[in-house]
Amino acid sequence: MEKVLTDFVKALRNSNVRVSPAETLDAMSVIDEVGYDDRELLKRSLSIVLPKTPDEKKKFEICFDDFFTDEIKEQVPVALKELKDIEDVKSDLAKTLLEGSQAELMLSIADAAEASEIREIKYFTQRSVFTRRILEKMGVGKLEDELMQIGSLREEDIPTDLEQELRNQLTGLRERVSDYVQQQFLLHGDVSGEQLREQVFKSMNMAQIDRSYLHEVHSLVRRMAKKLANLHSRRKKNYRRGKLDIRKTIRENWVNQGVLFNLSWSYKKVDRPKIYVICDVSGSVGAYARFMLMFLFSLTEVVSKLRAFVFSSNLGEVTDEFKDSNLDSAIESALQKYGGGSTDYGQALTDFVSLCIDEIDKKTTVVILGDARNNFGPEKAHLMKIINERSKQVFWLNPEGKYRWDTGDSVMTTYSAYCTKVFQCGNIDQLERVVSTLLKTAI
C-alpha cells in the first residue's frame, strides 16, 4: 500500500505540486488514521497534508481523480465462465485472459510496458501510441487473428460463448492497458507540459510568444518577480540596523532604575527606490513593453514607487491604470490608447521632461525600453542629458539584437552616451537578469 502513496506523491510532484519527504511521511500517518476505504475522506484528508497553496489544491484535486480511478476498477473481479471448448484456444494471450489470474494479467501488462519503454513517455499525445505498443507486445495481433478464424469457422451468425467471452476480455484488456498508460504518464510524463513550455518561453523572443499563451507567461513572470522580490527584500533588511539610540535606551530603561538592560537601536530609514519606466509601445516594440510592464508591476512588494509612461509619439502616464485594474486589461488599454503610431523619441522625451523632470532626484532610476528607431526625426539628445544628470541612473533596454543597433533609423549610440547602462533584452531570461541588476543598483 505504501507504494501506492509514493507513486501518488510522485505523480503530484510531476504536476508541479511540491511535496517534501516529511510531508510524505505525514501523509502516511494520515492514511494510517483514515484508511483507503473511503475515497472522499481520503481525498479530503490528503488535501490537508500534501498541497499547501490554493493553487496546489486545485492541481491536487485533478491529480487525485486521475490517479485513483483504476484502483477501484481493479478490485472488480472478472467472472470466469466455465467454457467447454477452452482447450481450443491457441494464442498465449487468449489463454492468460481466460485462465490466468488478475495478478498474472497485471504482471504481463507491466512486462510489456517495460519492454515498450513506457518510462520514456513525456507528452499527453503519446498515450495512444504507448497503449498500442503495449497491446502489440502482449500479442493482441495473434488474438485478433484467432478471433477472425473462430468467426469464419462457425456456421451460424450468432457468436459462440467462447468468442463472446474473448471479445469481452479483449475490450477489458484495452481499457486496462490504457488506464495503466495514463497512470504511468502521470508518473513519468511532463503532465501539464509546463516545464517544457516554460523553458521555451524563457528563451523565446518575446515578440514571438503567441497571445494565447499570455496567461501562462504571466504566471511565469510573476513567479520570477516573486523570486527577485524575496531576494531583495531580505537584503534590504540587513541595512536596517543602525546605531545605538541612547535617548530611547535611557527612556526605556527608566523602570529598571536606569540600569541599561534593553538596548534600543536607531533604525536607518530604508529608501525605497523610485523607478520611472518609459516604454515605447509603437508597433515594433509593443510586445516587449507588455512583458516589461508585467514584470515591473509584479514587483510592487519591493518597489513602492513605480511610475510607468508609454508613448509612441505622445507620452502619457499609465501608472494608475496598472495599479487598479487587472494587468491584462490595463496593458490592452494602454496599448490601444498610445500604441501603434509612428515613433517619435524626441517628442516623447520632451513630454517626459515637461511632465515630471522636477520629481526626478538622485534616488530615481529611469528605465527606457525601446528600439531607438526614430523615423529619422529629431533626436533631442540634450533632454537625455538632463534626465541623466538629475537621476541616479538611466537604463536603456533594447529588444533588438546588438548587430541591428544603429542600422537604418536606429540612433542607439546617440542615446546610449547618456545611459548608465545599455542592455539587450529580447527574451524573458534576459529581462529577469536586467530587472535583477536594476534592483541591485536601485536600492
Binding site: D26, E33, R44, S47, I48, V49, K57, N256, V259
Partner: protein, 317 residues
C-alpha cells in the same frame, strides 16, 4: 478500516455546530487530523471567512484554554516567548548585596571568599524571574490549550523561524535555563491572510487548510445559526444576493462576517422582503470600497430578481 474517523469527524461537525460554528467536511477533517496527529494547522483564506473563529470554537469544543498571539511587524521573542522580570531581578541583586556580608563573614583571602560565593545558590536566572508570554504559556499549561497564532503573515520572517522549534518539537530553548518541553501538546492554529507568502519551512510543518467563501447551502446554514431570528425566505434571498455579488469583479468580496452583519441589519430594520431600495441603502455594510458599491449598484435589479427567483424555485421544491 473501521468507521472510527468518519464518526469522529461528524462528531466534530455537530459539536462545532452546537457552539454556533457551521463547518464544511473539509474543516472538520482538518480539525480531526490536527488533534489526532498532534500537528499544527495553518489556516488560509480571504478575510472574514471565520479563521479566527474556528480557533475560538475549537477551544470551546475541546474545553481547553484559548491562548492567542496576535502577530504584527516587529513582534519579537520577548513579547511572544518569555521575558525576564528585570525589576525583580534588580531588587534581588540588592537583597543579595546585604546577604553577601553574612556569607562572606570570616572568610580569609580572595580565594576563600570566591569559594563561598560559588557555593551560594544563584537564582538570578530561574523560573522565579521568568515572565511567560503566550507561546511559553501554551507549552507550560497543565491541561493543554488551544494556541492561536493570528495573522502570522503580518510578522517578520525572523519570527517565523522562531516558531519552527515550537511547531515541530513543541519545545522552547531558553539559553539560561535549557529546553522546556510541552507538558501537554497544545492544539496549534495559525491563520494567514496571505499578505505575504509564508515560508516553506513553516508550511512543511503544518497541515494546511484553505477556507474559501462558502457555497450557498453552507452559507445559509451559517446565517441561520448566527442570526436565528431571520425568516427563511429572507435568509435565502439574502444569501443568493451575496453569492451573486461574489461573481462580480470587486476589489474586496463580501465575506461571511459581512453577510451576517447584513442579516442583522435587515432584522433591525424590520424588513421582510429584499427589494432594490433596501439593498441599495444598506449596501455599505456589505461592501467596504466606494468603487465596489458603484459597481454593485448598477447590478442590483438583476441580482435581486435572480435572488428572489431562485428562492421561489426552492420553496416550490
Amino acid at each position: 478500516m473501521s468507521d472510527g474517523p468518519k464518526k469522529a469527524i461528524s462528531k466534530i461537525t455537530k459539536g462545532f455546530a452546537k457552539h454556533g460554528y457551521i463547518c464544511s467536511d473539509q474543516i472538520s477533517t482538518a480539525v480531526y487530523l490536527a488533534s489526532e496527529l498532534e500537528k499544527p494547522i495553518l489556516i488560509e483564506g480571504p478575510p472574514g471567512v471565520g479563521k479566527t473563529e474556528l480557533a475560538n470554537t475549537a477551544a470551546m469544543y475541546f474545553k481547553k484554554e484559548l491562548i492567542r498571539l496576535q502577530c504584527y511587524e516587529g513582534l519579537d521573542e520577548s513579547k511572544a516567548l518569555y521575558e525576564w522580570r528585570y525589576g525583580k531581578q534588580l531588587l534581588y541583586t540588592q537583597i543579595l548585596k546585604e546577604q553577601m556580608q553574612e556569607v562572606l563573614e570570616g572568610a580569609k583571602g580572595l580565594k576563600e571568599s570566591l569559594g563561598r560565593l560559588m557555593k551560594f545558590e544563584d537564582i538570578f536566572f530561574s523560573e522565579d524571574f521568568l515572565e511567560t508570554r503566550p507561546l511559553l504559556k501554551a507549552l507550560t499549561s497543565d491541561k493543554g490549550s488551544v494556541l492561536l497564532i493570528d495573522e502570522v503573515d503580518k510578522s517578520d520572517e525572523e519570527f517565523e523561524a522562531l516558531l519552527l522549534e515550537i511547531l515541530s518539537e513543541f519545545q522552547i530553548s531558553i539559553p539560561e535555563l535549557g529546553v522546556r518541553k510541552a507538558k501537554v501538546k497544545p492544539l496549534v492554529m495559525l491563520t494567514s491572510n496571505n499578505s505575504r507568502e509564508i515560508g516553506d519551512a513553516l508550511k512543511r510543518r503544518c497541515l494546511h487548510l484553505y477556507i474559501p467563501f462558502p457555497e450557498a447551502k453552507l452559507e445559509r446554514q451559517i446565517v441561520q445559526a448566527r442570526v436565528p431570528e431571520i425568516s427563511e425566505s429572507m435568509q435565502i434571498q439574502l444569501v443568493n444576493f451575496v453569492q451573486g455579488i461574489r461573481e462580480l469583479d470587486l476589489k474586496k468580496q463580501p465575506a461571511i462576517s459581512e453577510t451576517i452583519d447584513w442579516a442583522k441589519t435587515l432584522i433591525l430594520l424590520n424588513s421582510e422582503e429584499l427589494d432594490a431600495k433596501l439593498a441599495e441603502e444598506t449596501l455599505n455594510i456589505l461592501l467596504k470600497h466606494q468603487q465596489d458599491i458603484e459597481v454593485v449598484k448598477k447590478e442590483i435589479p438583476a441580482l435581486i430578481s435572480s435572488a428572489t427567483e431562485t428562492s421561489d424555485g426552492k420553496s416550490i421544491n
